[in-house]
Structure formats: C-alpha cells, structure tokens
C-alpha cells in the first residue's frame, strides 16, 4: 500500500521535501520505518531514534497503520 509520510525540520531539509510517498512491505510502524531508511539513506543517521506519529500520537513499532491514517516522521526534535 502506498503511503504518505510527513517530514519536518532537519529531516525535511535533508530529503528536500516535507512529504515522501512509499510502499512498505507490511502495515506496521516498523515496516514503514524500515522502508523510509531503505529509500532515504540521507536520513540514515537519524533513523535510530526516529519514531512515527499515527494520527497525531506517537505509535509503537507494532502499531498497524490504517489506509486513511495520517503518518508523520518524528525525528530530530528541537522544542524549547
């Protein structure tokens, strides 16, 4: 299934876009994170601590993502 993943801050600058589209091997957060790392080696240094937000909440690796869910990469935060 093709999905959009929103990017912010340094990750968006590294990729040069604020949204990427990709086809993951499975429906879980873990699958999507693996696909992001595979497709975007420029993000590799940040993927170790990266998480996904699904519908505006941090999701665990086993969370299954539905077809209409909003997905965002949560990495390289900098509040404060």
């Amino acid at each position: 299934m093709r999905r959009d993943v929103l990017l912010f801050g340094p990750a968006a600058r590294m990729v040069g876009r604020d949204r990427i589209t990709l086809e993951a091997r499975g429906p879980t957060v873990r699958d999507v994170l693996a696909e992001i790392a595979a497709r975007h080696p420029e993000l590799a240094p940040t993927m170790g601590a990266a998480r996904l937000a699904v519908n505006h909440a941090l999701a665990t690796p086993d969370t299954t993502i539905g077809p209409d869910d909003e997905v965002a990469l949560i990495a390289l935060l900098g509040g404060g």
């Binding site: 929103l6 912010f8 801050g9 340094p10 600058r13 937000a53 505006h56 909440a57 941090l58 965002a72 949560i74 390289l76 935060l77 900098g78 509040g79 404060g80």
Partner: protein, 137 residues
C-alpha cells in the same frame, strides 16, 4: 486541584508573569514557590552566527503532547499549576521562544516539575527548529 495551561503562539513571546496570578499577590495561599523558565534564542549554532530560529510545530499533536506532559507533571505532590507557552514561526536572536511557569507549595517539587516538563518536551514533542543563519540560510 492543579491547573494546567498550554499555548502555541505565533512569533516571539512577551516577558510577562503568568496569568494565573496577578502582579503582587498570589491568591492561592498554598503556593510558596513560583518558578519561571524562559528559553531564549542564542546567537550561535554549531559555531555559525544565527539571525533567528523558525519553529515548526505539528498541530494538534504538539499541543496534545504538551498538555499531557503538563497534566502528568502537575500531579506531583505540592504542584498547584503549570503553564507553558511555545512560539511557532520565526523568533529572532535574543527573543523568547518558550516559557514554562510552575507554582507549587515548596521549591523542590517546582524545580523537579519544571525540569521534567522541559526534558520531556525536548524528547517527545512534535516541535522542530529551523536555524536561519545571518546572511541567509
């Protein structure tokens, strides 16, 4: 009993005491300690001269996270209120991008709550810094 308020505001924040308490006297007689933290944009980042930071905020996720953290930290014994405000968009060097104010019975729980709030925000909240260097990015 503790009160919590979280706000995202466009641009730099004013330097003002909390709206929970008026200027001279605290109406809550249990409050013996007020602690206010102000985060200010520094003039350099990794050795380069900054003009500003542009804060990018993913809403409503960020507000929900800050509210949840404030609610949890305000459950500490003795904490009476937590109020946090974060800038969105451009904040110039020297200006305030974040404030957090904790009112509590004693100083110790106030310091613990404000420290934990800030650490958890930096770790989890969907807020990003985009540095704008002097003379263009």
């Amino acid at each position: 009993m503790s009160r919590v308020r979280v706000q995202i505001v466009d641009g730099p924040l004013p330097r003002e005491p909390s709206s929970f308490a008026d200027a001279r006297s605290d109406a809550d007689e249990e409050v013996g300690s007020r602690i206010r933290f102000e985060g200010i944009v520094r003039g350099t980042e990794g050795g380069r001269t900054l003009a500003a930071i542009e804060y990018e905020i993913y809403e409503p996720m960020a507000s929900r996270q800050l509210e949840a953290i404030a609610r949890e930290e305000s459950a500490r014994d003795g904490v009476r209120s937590i109020e946090a405000v974060h800038s969105r968009g451009r904040v110039a060097v020297g200006e305030i991008s974040f404030t957090c104010e904790v009112r509590s019975r004693h100083r110790a729980e106030g310091i613990a709550a404000i420290s934990a709030f800030i650490e958890r925000m930096k770790l989890d909240a969907a807020i990003w810094k985009n540095p704008i260097f002097a003379g263009g990015r």
